[in-house]
């Protein structure tokens, strides 16, 4: 019985941790909302025909002058706030997750190899990482964006917006993965099961991916949640600065930028609704990340 409980200890802790449960619920709701945005939302914010200026600047349902069709009001273009934030969250999540995946694949791959081979290869990877680290994430992202702007012909720039943004964010995050993967790989290399596999004559790729990788997943998982939050925040920041997604296909960051114009004039919902939504999303991801970190580090319990 005790053995059974110990096996699902993680689950037990989860069930008994109120903050983790709330966080998971919030995150799930938001994610589901984002996935099914096209079905739930009243309006497609990208489809210019589906909304009109006449519906613009309507307040949320509990204030005077509201239209009950738009529960949380509309923005200056007449877009329903709920639809806007759902579609916005979807974009933020798509970009965040894609960037994360690319960064993880590159980072873990390089980190594993650096840890396994050591020597010259490791030194080279570390030098590249050093240079990357000398330029903070935002800088890298901005730079890539700037370069893309300069290189790509104006015609396709808009279409490639999402791709450029994703690439920019991915390139600023891979170093985290690489360093963690490398450090944990070093630790595993000293373990005897790895030496046994190498001694047997197994291929390096097999030793790295079949033997070592499953054992370093723990810390990597924690980094993933933290970096997902970072990726989403980074995208929001870039959009806020005007370099990310434009107003006609807005992400949450863009919505906040738009909303800032109305901060002083009284249409508070255009600013604060997307803001709260973004905060809720990121906070729940971070809580889950902390929770995972505590599970993988039993000493802290």
């Amino acid at each position: 019985m005790i053995a059974f409980l110990k096996k699902y200890e993680g689950l037990w802790l989860f069930v008994h941790s109120p903050s983790a449960i709330v966080a998971a619920m919030v995150a799930t709701l938001i994610i589901l909302g984002a996935i099914f945005a096209s079905w739930i939302a009243l309006v497609n914010p990208y489809d210019l025909a589906s909304f009109s200026l006449f519906d613009g600047l309507l307040p949320p349902v509990w204030q005077d002058g509201a239209n009950p069709k738009y529960l949380l009001g509309t923005d200056d273009q007449g877009r329903d706030m709920i639809s806007a934030i759902l579609y916005g969250a979807r974009l933020s999540l798509i970009i965040g997750l894609s960037a994360l995946t690319i960064a993880a694949v590159i980072g873990v791959g390089l980190g594993l190899a650096a840890g396994y081979y050591g020597g010259r290869f490791d030194a080279v990877v570390m030098r590249i990482a050093d240079v990357q680290l000398a330029l903070p994430a935002i800088l890298t992202a901005l730079l890539i964006d700037g370069i893309a702007r300069g290189i790509l012909p104006a015609a396709i720039q808009q279409d490639l917006r999402v791709a450029v943004l994703t690439l920019a964010i991915a390139l600023s995050l891979w170093v985290n993965f690489a360093r963690t993967a490398r450090a944990t790989t070093f630790v595993q290399m000293n373990k005897e099961y790895v030496q046994a596999a190498i001694m047997m004559g197994q291929r390096p790729s097999r030793v790295m991916f079949v033997h070592i990788l499953p054992n370093i997943l723990g810390p990597l998982l924690v980094i993933m949640t933290v970096d997902l939050a970072s990726a989403i925040l980074l995208e929001a920041t870039l959009s806020f600065l005007g370099i990310g997604l434009p107003a006609d296909s807005p992400s949450l960051g863009t919505l906040i930028r738009i909303g800032m114009q109305f901060m002083l004039s009284g249409e508070w919902w255009i600013l604060w609704i997307p803001t709260l939504f973004l905060i809720a999303l990121v906070v729940s991801i971070n809580i889950l990340g902390d929770f995972l970190r505590d599970i993988f580090n039993p000493r802290l319990r």
Partner: protein
Amino acid sequence: MVYFIVKRMIQSVFVMLAVAFLAFSLFRFVGDPITQMTGVETSVVDQERLREELGLNDPFVSQFIRFTGDMLQGDFGYSYRTRQPVADMITERVPATLELGVVALIISLLVGVPAGVYTALKPRGIWTQTILMTTLVGVSVPTFVIGIMLIFLFGVQLGWLPTFGRGGTVQIGNWESSLFTFSGWRALLLPAITLGVYQLTLTMRLVRAEMMEVMRSDYIRFAMARGVPMRKLHYKHAMVNTMVPVITIIGLQFGGVIAFSIVTESVFQWPGMGLLFLESIRFVDIPVMGVYLVVIAFFFVLVNLVVDLLYVAIDPRLRLRELE
């Protein structure tokens, strides 16, 4: 130990060269400098002549060497947008960013370190839980949102503090400082807090984690077994040992501060380097972009070098070799 210092310096130079190379590649491959500088009216022949004069047809390597040489002498080229020397544009903006960054860093350390120590020593207190909850939110809220909220609260609703600009400034030689006027400080407060909050939460979490790790170590346990007074144990033993790895993170944090200053400057319209960089991105002003890169990397590398040297000075294990 001398070897260690020399090795680190060589590494730093390498990193700088790599960054310079990146910046130079930017210049060469993104857009055409000639068309940027001359516009549509100049004839093709004249453009060719200009190209030849500026040495843009020379081999890649010699151009790079010239580029680096120029940089080392302080010649950073001319902006595509304003036609001014980039060097002037940047030096004009450096004090604003640097002052903002340093004040933000100081705030984050002054609050973050004690908070980290406190939450580590009293893991179950009510204050600890509050602080931890707050920092969780602090890490999740993007810097620009914090800025907006502060502006809204203190600038709009309460009207206590200004929401843009630097306030009154004083010129000291080349350096235009806003630290010497009351209005300067008032203007600095909100941006500095905004910038410092994220760093603060990171510092606090790091100090806390390190301190808890140290408190579990054998030498703390042995010191307890010897009856060393608890106060001394907490501060002289635990805290001092915690500071050593924390120092290295300060270096990285400085980079973060400079980076996030871009966002903060944007929100508060603070006339620093970050704002300049943003504009240069928007207008694809390559020279400014490239030079900004190099300047940032330089600051970053410098701070990290200093931190590494500090590390060596503090930790005897790196300094002294075995006796027998």
